[in-house]
């Protein structure tokens, strides 16, 4: 009776996940969806705490203690984190989920190796899979975090011929796992430890060569991995909500990964092998001799103030400088003078899809002011002024005319079709993808160097003078 009731609660939890995720994919219901998924998780955890298990010692003290610790750490980090660091945070949370799955699998495997439990062949296989995927998701996510946080540079963690190193590691990992699986009658603890170490190394090495604009794709893929490891663990515990939740996340992560790859016009394989950064020499060569024209604050303020229409193209520089609210103030000042201010959001601007939307939403920029790439490109020829703030690769014309460039073929925002372009940037250094941008030398383009926030503040002061 009680067991049936609790299984029905699991069903309720699983249904909440599915409906919650569905609601999260539409702007009107997204918040409700998140609340519903949270509800599903709460009931699922409660049900797990109280489902009757024959002769179980329960050890509730251990469980509640650990839940308190984890809950508090999770809550505080989620509340304290800066909006700009959101992608890293998601990556860390994701990695910890993977670590949880890996810890589970290694505990079960150790018990088995010590002769404390008996596993069927199928269970052993699934445990090995859980361990592999979980461990890869853990170290991969942590490296992705370190890269996004700027703790390590792409070049610091790669070997020459890194793809070959990766293949060897993967081969060793699979061979070792197969060895453990085939010799299941006589399991040795050290071999299982070796499998885990190899998987941890591979996760690190797998993410190491991937950099540039590809980071969001990897995080999304690792997110799918964590989901799959949770689902595999669900098969071991024969727990249906783990299976449903894990698989849902697995498909979500894969779909998102594919959508992001599409936005960049590249295949997943191309991303994983690390196409960026290999041939960037050819694209930089002719850039050095050209001169970029600078603009003064006063000139820019006047141009903006008397434009009919202005499109702002935000990028990662805006996020780093925390300049979203200052942009909004500029928008207010200009709009008050009748300027039509819009924002063009490239699908992969920033470090994650939707990153810019989140930032601008934080600054209370109204939803209708945000244009997606297609709409923005249609409006470009009728736009007086484009202000590119801290974006680079997503406005690179090489995507159209330089087959040698790594971004060739990627859809970009055609800012050069507008009447004037001003690029705000910290320096002439290339963007995250490590390639030079011909836009800076375009005859319509003027540059304004400096940190996005302080530059925009000075610009706001200049506009205010015009306003009085």
């Amino acid at each position: 009776m009680l067991i049936t009731a609790i299984n029905l609660i699991y069903l309720l939890g699983a249904t909440s996940f599915v409906i919650g995720l569905k609601q999260m994919s539409s702007p009107d219901t997204a918040r409700k969806g998140n609340a519903l998924a949270t509800f599903g998780m709460v009931v699922a955890i409660l049900a797990t705490l109280f489902i009757p298990i024959t002769d179980a010692p329960n050890n509730y003290l251990w469980i509640f203690g650990a839940m308190m610790v984890g809950g508090i750490i999770g809550y505080i980090s989620a509340i304290k984190i800066e909006m700009t660091a959101m992608p890293q945070m998601v990556s860390v949370f994701n990695g910890l989920g993977g670590a949880c799955a890996a810890v589970l699998a290694s505990t079960e495997l150790t018990q088995y190796a010590n002769g404390a439990t008996i596993l069927s062949k199928g269970q052993l296989l699934i445990l090995l899979i859980t361990l592999l995927i979980g461990a890869i998701a853990f170290t991969g996510s942590m490296l992705a975090y370190a890269k996004l946080q700027g703790l390590v540079k792409d070049s610091q963690v790669t070997f020459p011929k890194h793809n070959i190193v990766n293949l060897i590691l993967l081969g060793a990992l699979l061979a070792m796992s197969a060895y453990v699986y085939l010799n299941m009658a006589d399991p040795t603890l050290w071999y299982i430890v070796l499998v885990m170490v190899l998987a941890l190394l591979y996760g690190f090495s797998f993410v190491a060569p991937i950099g540039g604009a590809d980071m969001p794709v990897v995080i999304s893929l690792l997110n799918a991995f964590t989901g799959l490891s949770a689902a595999a663990a669900g098969l071991i515990y024969e727990n249906k909500i783990m299976l449903v939740g894990g698989i849902l996340v697995g498909s979500a992560g894969i779909i998102l990964t594919v959508l992001m790859c599409k936005a960049m016009n590249r295949s997943l394989l191309n991303v994983l092998i690390g196409g960026f950064g290999e041939n960037n020499q050819t694209a930089t060569d002719n850039g050095d001799k050209q001169l970029a024209k600078e603009i003064t604050y006063t000139d820019l303020a006047i141009q903006l103030y008397y434009s009919k229409s202005v499109i702002i193209v935000p990028g990662y520089g805006l996020a780093v400088a925390q300049a979203q609210k200052v942009v909004k103030r500029l928008d207010n000042l200009l709009s008050a003078n009748g300027v039509d201010v819009k924002y063009a959001i490239h699908p992969v601007a920033g470090r994650m899809p939707g990153h810019m939307n989140v930032l601008l939403a934080e600054a209370d920029v109204p939803y209708p002011k945000l244009l997606d790439m297609e709409d923005a490109n249609e409006e470009m020829p009728n736009t007086d002024m484009v202000l590119v703030i801290g974006a680079n690769d997503v406005v690179n014309p090489a995507a159209y005319d330089d087959p040698a460039s790594p971004v060739y073929g990627m859809p970009v925002i055609n800012v050069w079709e507008a009447k004037n372009v001003v690029v705000m940037k910290r320096s002439m250094s290339p963007g995250y993808a490590g390639i030079q941008n011909q836009l800076f030398f375009h005859h319509k383009t003027k540059m304004l160097f400096g940190d996005a926030k302080s530059t925009l503040e000075q610009l706001n002061d200049e506009v205010k003078i015009l306003d009085t």
Binding site: F17, V18, L21, M24, S26, A30, A37, T38, M41, T48, L49, I53, P57, N59, W62, V69, G70, I73, G74, Y75, S77, M89, V90, F93, N94, L96, G97, A99, C100, A101, V103, L104, T107, E108, T110, Q111, K121, I219, T226, S229, A233, N239, K240, M242, G246, I247, L248, V249, S251, A252, G253, I255, L256, M260, P353, G354, N357, V358, A361, D372
Partner: protein, 103 residues
């Protein structure tokens, strides 16, 4: 091989569930506006924290003197809990900003 087939046979319902959920997942998520990609990824990430359930079951079944399983299980619960609580809280923070500006 035979044992593997036996396992598949015994868990056929779970395998049905697995395959249908994959299809369901693709269908539920295939149409998402770019705006929601980051919150959706974050929300999905929080859901992947269901793995915590395995950790709870591990502790509940461990002998009270089996400190190896207990401590690793507790580590699993801590990690899973950070994933779940942090994940949902961060997602809610992101989405809150969307709903605020709608008014």
């Amino acid at each position: 091989m035979e044992q593997l087939f036996l396992y598949l046979e015994n868990n056929l319902i779970l395998i049905y569930l697995l395959i249908f959920t994959v299809i369901l997942g693709f269908e539920v998520i295939s149409k998402v506006p770019t705006v929601l990609h980051t919150p959706l990824m974050s929300g999905a990430n929080a859901i992947s924290g269901v793995v915590i359930i395995g950790a709870i079951l591990l502790i509940r079944n461990a002998a009270p003197t089996d400190y190896f399983s207990l401590s690793l299980g507790a580590l699993g619960v801590v990690l899973g809990m950070i994933n779940v609580v942090g994940g949902f809280a961060v997602t809610n923070r992101m989405l809150k900003m969307f709903s605020k500006k709608k008014k």
